[in-house]
């Protein structure tokens, strides 16, 4: 058995690599045979010429025998394919325009697919680069209303402390607070991002430092020397990879810290963090609640579900001490990967769907070009058939050509993932968070290869359907360019229908996403986010234990920032729209205590008088706060429209009094002064555009004992340019106070719909490509049909058909394809756009106006594509047409 295989292999290898020897031997062998046969006939008395003739006749075609003998060698397929490849290359090089067109179309299709696949691979398929990444989880506490205050996945310091004490599910549990700091030594002043982390943070990720050590619980204790661990990136950027960096100090937000460790670039949590500093996250004694991000590493063998159930049980035990309405917080635990990238899955898969359609269109375009070329090559095929090439042989030839083209397209398209993902990641940072670098790894290359192969086979086979094989021999006789072309005309029209349908699907998707963005932009957030700097500071609990100390700090901060050049209006508030947290309280009205179910809940926002102007709120009724609303003056309140409509439907709320349940520490019998409603402002979407405005009550901060904590500055220039001077101001008041958040509000606002805008942009780009390609396809087919029917048209005109009739004739034919494609595409869009539902905003997935508009756009473009060839048809000169051959 083995020997047989060995003989077989040796034989084939010799046939392949010593080809000329083998060929020569075959020639000799056959010549020897013929010589013998000839001799035999000579011996029978025939003359030499006749003897040779008989011998040959008896033998059959020498070439056939040779060919068959070659086939028996078992290397024929490979050899022929190599031959086909050479032939295909030659053919492609002699038609550079055709080749370039196809390669570009395929490069677009395959490249876009590969780019999106590369992104999906690096975002969704690749595990996080930490040991046992599936054990790393992200924790959040969702309040009973189902909303996450502030929008992020956060936990309170109290809940975290409880979990840390009571849970047995984790190998490590860490809390952290991401932020940024100003680095003021070792070169230029630079704002770097990083995090304050609890002692167990590095045990969660288990990343070994490049140099030095990580942080531990000892570093977070009060009185421990200030230290910092920096990133490899910062080490390279600011310290030139100097190994003596350890032990040097880095001044972050004015605090000198000893650099004790350098983490490799693999540690990307929080994303692009440059420093990690220790923080004590245990709850303070005051009533201020700190919010953290929490991550954990599950103990070996513990599942996500078990750990979630355990924490939920711990939470329920703690909540039993709370009043019923404060209970019901839900523990949400996801793998860190899911937390970081889960929200990107929908948009990415949608993107993949869209680029698949682009590939479909690229394929049909190519198939169309191939059919056109096959038509031009009918003669060539006919000749080869008559010379004995089998049908299989021609199919192989076509496939070799198409796969070669697809491979070239894929090769050209591989440039795409390189800059394509760069573009994609540049435009979708907020969807995806931190995108790991996409590289052309083996999976991406494999994907491109498979797509190219399938693509090549798919469009390579289409011309076969259009060539009627039985007629091939007849082709040689026919010379009219369109002879036997009805069949391919139909095939090409079919492809155009498919293209138009795909274009309709993409157009519909793009239309729906554009409408979503438009709905977003049209939405009035109730404030003007432009030129607003929002700053949230973190007051150390030890030094700011009471309201008075906090008020003093905030008052001074407001005074000093108001005087900064570039500040138009300065204000403080509990809540800045899209940011910060609101307390939610229950109100009664006009002396009635809030009881039962029919009381209003409203967000409380204590603000300084500048808040209205700083954020550009609109006053609807009455007045806003003035500096006169001071501690001694009557307490006043302003409510928003949502609260006015809910509590005072149809009447003016002005002049009524809110009733707030006195705080528990109020002396019995003394009811605090109940605030008088003096004005109504327009609704502000505090939580973001997705959530309808909730009732909100504003109070004058000056009349309240607790201070507002968010600094809001309307600036004359770009807000972030002021951040540095605000930070300096804070440092002069108290260097121990850190800026927790300092953002341009318009950035935050743009982020709330940036994903939608990018989705719409990408989809529109794809749809535009699809529309152009399918219009060109239709135009090409119509031009071809007009050319093919030149004689018929000329005849009709000679018989008295008017130009208008000819025009109608041609356009009718083109529009038939158009309406078929349109119908098919609308059905497809109807079925597919529902997959977009998660990405849509205030638009139905089958919005009739979008579908109608798509139909109109497509019909108009298609009409244009038909009209030009039709016009050409009317200019056919009957005499030329009749002499066409």
């Amino acid at each position: 058995m083995l020997a047989e295989h060995w003989a077989d292999l040796r034989y084939r290898l010799r046939a392949l690599f010593r080809r000329s020897d083998v060929e020569h031997e075959l020639d000799q062998e056959l010549a020897f045979h013929l010589a013998h046969a000839t001799e035999q006939y000579l011996a029978q008395g025939l003359d030499p010429a006749e003897a040779r003739r008989r011998a040959r006749l008896e033998f059959g075609t020498v070439d056939n025998t040779k060919e068959e003998s070659r086939d028996r060698r078992g290397t024929a397929l490979l050899e022929a394919t190599l031959g086909d490849l050479r032939y295909a290359l030659r053919g492609l090089l002699t038609h550079p325009i055709f080749t370039a067109g196809v390669v570009v179309a395929l490069a677009l299709g395959i490249g876009a697919n590969t780019a999106v696949f590369g992104l999906i691979e690096s975002v969704l398929l690749k595990p996080l680069p930490y040991p046992h990444p599936d054990q790393i989880v992200s924790l959040a506490l969702i309040d009973p209303r189902g909303q996450v205050p502030g929008g992020g996945p956060i936990v309170t310091d109290r809940a975290f402390a409880m979990w840390q004490r009571d849970s047995r599910s984790f190998a490590a549990l860490a809390a952290l607070s991401g932020g940024s700091a100003v680095l003021t030594d070792a070169g230029d002043v630079e704002e770097v991002s990083g995090a304050e982390v609890s002692g167990d943070f590095f045990s969660v990720f288990r990343v070994t430092p490049l140099l030095g050590r990580t942080l531990s619980a000892a570093d977070t204790r009060a009185g421990a020397p200030p230290v910092v661990v920096i990133s490899q990136a910062l080490w390279e950027r600011r310290f030139g990879r100097d190994p003596r960096t350890l032990g040097r100090t880095a001044t972050l937000d004015g605090v000198k810290r000893e650099i004790v460790g350098i983490m490799p670039s693999g540690l990307q949590y929080p994303s692009a963090a440059d420093y990690w500093i220790p923080r004590d996250v245990s709850p303070g004694t005051g009533n201020i609640v700190a919010f953290f991000t929490a991550v954990g590493r599950l103990a070996p063998g513990r599942t996500l579900a078990e750990a979630t159930a355990e924490l939920q049980a711990i939470q329920a035990r703690a909540e039993s001490a709370l009043p019923p309405r404060a209970r019901g917080a839900r523990v949400e635990m996801l793998t860190l990967h899911e937390r970081l990238f889960g929200s990107a899955r929908g948009p990415l898969l949608t993107l993949l769907g869209a680029v698949a359609f682009v590939l479909l269109i690229a394929c049909t375009t190519t198939a169309n070009l191939f059919i056109a070329r096959a038509a031009a090559r009918r003669r060539e095929f006919a000749i080869r058939t008559s010379l004995g090439a089998g049908r299989g042989r021609l199919i192989r030839q076509l496939l070799v050509e198409s796969v070669l083209l697809a491979a070239l397209g894929a090769l050209a398209g591989l440039a795409f993932p390189v800059w394509g993902t760069r573009v994609l990641t540049a435009v979708i940072p907020s969807t995806v968070g931190h995108v790991p670098a996409t590289s052309l790894d083996a999976w991406v290359l494999l994907f491109a290869g498979v797509v190219a192969l399938l693509t090549g086979v798919a469009f390579g086979l289409t011309p076969l359907a259009s060539l009627s094989w039985s007629n091939l021999s007849g082709v040689m006789k026919a010379s009219a360019p369109g002879a036997g072309g009805g069949n391919q005309g139909r095939a090409r029209q079919g492809l155009v229908v498919v293209q138009l349908a795909a274009a309709v699907v993409l157009l519909a998707g793009a239309g729906l996403l554009i409408r979503s963005v438009a709905a977003f932009v049209a939405l009035d957030p109730g404030f003007n986010p432009r030129h607003v700097l929002a700053v949230l500071v973190d007051l150390p609990r030890t030094r700011y234990a009471n309201d008075r100390a906090r008020s003093t700090f905030y008052d001074q901060l407001l005074q000093e920032t108001r005087a900064l050049p570039g500040v138009v209006v300065a204000a403080e508030a509990d809540a800045v729209p899209l940011f910060g947290f609101s307390m939610i309280t229950r109100f009664g009205v006009d002396g009635a205590a809030p009881v039962g179910e029919h009381v209003e809940e409203a967000a409380v926002n204590r603000v300084t008088p500048g808040y209205l102007a700083a954020l550009g709120l609109t006053l609807k009724q009455g007045r806003w706060f003035t500096p006169a609303d001071a501690p001694g003056a009557p307490r006043v309140a302003v409510i928003n429209e949502a609260m006015a409509e809910a509590r005072f439907p149809g009447t003016s709320p002005i002049g009524h009094r809110l009733f707030i349940r006195p705080p528990p520490d109020t002396k019995p019998g003394t009811l605090p002064d109940q605030p008088l409603i003096v004005g109504v402002v327009g609704n502000v979407r505090q939580v973001g555009d997705q959530i309808e405005p909730i009732p909100e009550a504003f109070f004058a901060a000056a009349q309240d004992s607790a201070a507002a904590q968010a600094l809001t500055l309307r600036t004359s220039g770009p807000p972030l340019e002021l951040l540095a001077s605000v930070k300096r101001t804070i440092a002069t008041i108290d260097p121990s106070v850190a800026v927790w958040v300092g953002v341009d509000l318009s950035d935050v606002y743009a982020r709330t719909y940036a994903d939608r805008r990018v989705d719409a942009l990408l989809m529109s780009a794809f749809a535009l490509v699809a529309l152009v390609l399918s219009a060109l396809g239709l135009y090409a087919v119509m031009s071809y049909l007009v050319m093919q029917r030149t004689r018929e048209i000329g005849m009709r005109m000679a018989l008295g058909a008017s130009a208008g009739q000819v025009l109608r004739l041609v356009i009718r034919q083109g529009m038939t394809s158009t309406f078929l494609g349109l119908g098919l595409g609308l059905v497809g869009a109807f079925l597919l756009t529902r997959e977009l539902r998660a990405l849509l905003f205030r638009v139905s997935a089958t919005d009739p106006s979008v579908f109608a508009l798509v139909a109109v756009v497509l019909a108009v473009v298609a009409f244009g594509a038909c009209y030009l060839p039709a016009r050409r048809a009317t200019r056919v000169d009957p005499m030329t047409a009749l002499r066409w051959d």
Partner: protein
Amino acid sequence: MPDHRLDLPQGTLDLLILKALTLEPMHGWAISERLHQVSKATLQVPQGSLYPALHRLERRGWIKAEWGTSDNNRKAKYYALTAAGRRQLASDAEAWARLTAAVALILRMD
């Protein structure tokens, strides 16, 4: 003159070539002549298919080829039966005998 020579049933050419080579190594022409003679001129060996068959058998390792000199001093490619070829011939011949016996049996039934 009507041609009374028989066409070879499919697949039997291999068997006949192997059988012809049992006596001594032969070149292609000799094989075709021998088959013609031994079958008393009743078998029409399609000469065009002889060489592809030889190459196929060589590839399977049943025969091996060597260049030699023919009786009239010309270079010729001689084919010889290998051990594997001998085994193949034995099993093929047996299968053939069984087949023909069975066919004969059926043909005799009426």
